[in-house]
């Protein structure tokens, strides 16, 4: 059985451009009390270049089919497929790719949950090489963030900090 994965405080923080991280934080605050979700695009040389906000359809799915989708957007995200397909097409047109999938947890920590692992570890997950940025929002404010990467032994979490300017 899977367990949530926390940030490994012994590993060095991953650095992200301030503009990228701040845009993710702004999205997370604006989406509160629901979780936000979106993508970060970039290249091998510059993996965290641009943020693409996507719609969280979890509440809509929950309202239509609460049996299949028992959670609403306060406890989960379901990325709008048209949004992520468009983001992928536009990234490819710019010579970029999807390097990171982000979402927020509301009134919960910046861990990689069992449900996060369930989807991200699925063989058909569309961006298997992407990292996963999780932002914790408590009381309407961002209070933590972690970046999770898949490895042969499973996902490993690291802290995230602004790149020095």
């Amino acid at each position: 059985m899977r367990r949530r994965i926390e940030v490994d405080a012994d590993k060095p923080a991953v650095l992200m451009p301030a503009a990228v991280l701040n845009e993710v934080f702004a999205h997370a605050r604006e989406a509160d009390p629901e979780e936000c979700c979106g993508l970060i695009t970039g290249t091998d040389a510059e993996p965290y270049r641009a943020v693409v906000r996507c719609r969280n359809d979890m509440t809509r799915h929950h309202q239509r089919d609460p049996v299949t989708y028992p959670r609403d957007g306060r406890q989960g995200f379901y990325m709008n497929e048209q949004d992520y397909l468009r983001a992928e097409d536009e990234a490819e047109a710019r010579g970029e790719r999807i390097t990171c999938v982000y979402h927020s947890h509301v009134d919960a920590g910046a861990y990689f949950s069992e449900m996060d692992q369930d989807f991200a570890g699925e063989p058909l997950f569309p961006f298997p090489d992407a990292h996963h940025l999780v932002v914790s929002v408590v009381g309407g404010q961002v209070v933590g963030q972690g970046l999770f990467r898949g490895h042969a032994e499973g996902f490993v979490g690291r802290a995230v900090a602004h790149e020095p300017t």
Partner: protein
């Protein structure tokens, strides 16, 4: 008379690298059966052993999610676009 089936990047390896496949109109199950004859490994990634859509895979006919229509009995008409889309989801 034909419909196009968009293949997501994660599944293109099972479709000979193609981004789109073409099939005759019909019910969605008939369209998927047709592409499955051409790309059987692709079909096994979309449908489970019991023949239903896999949990983490969504299929759209044009812009409509077939889970909210008639699932595999959703009609696909000439000129329609079928999109296979793996889900991205999670949460606290």
């Amino acid at each position: 008379m034909s419909v196009t089936v968009r293949v997501p990047s994660a599944l293109r390896v099972y479709a000979g690298g193609r981004t789109e496949l073409v099939a005759a109109p019909g019910l969605l199950r008939e369209v998927l059966d047709a592409i499955g004859r051409e790309s059987p490994e692709l079909l096994t990634r979309v449908l489970g052993e019991e023949g239903a859509l896999r949990r983490h895979v969504n299929v759209f006919v044009n812009d409509e999610d077939v889970r909210f229509r008639e699932l595999l009995d959703t009609p696909v008409r000439d000129g329609d676009r079928v999109t296979i889309v793996p889900a991205i989801a999670g949460g606290a």
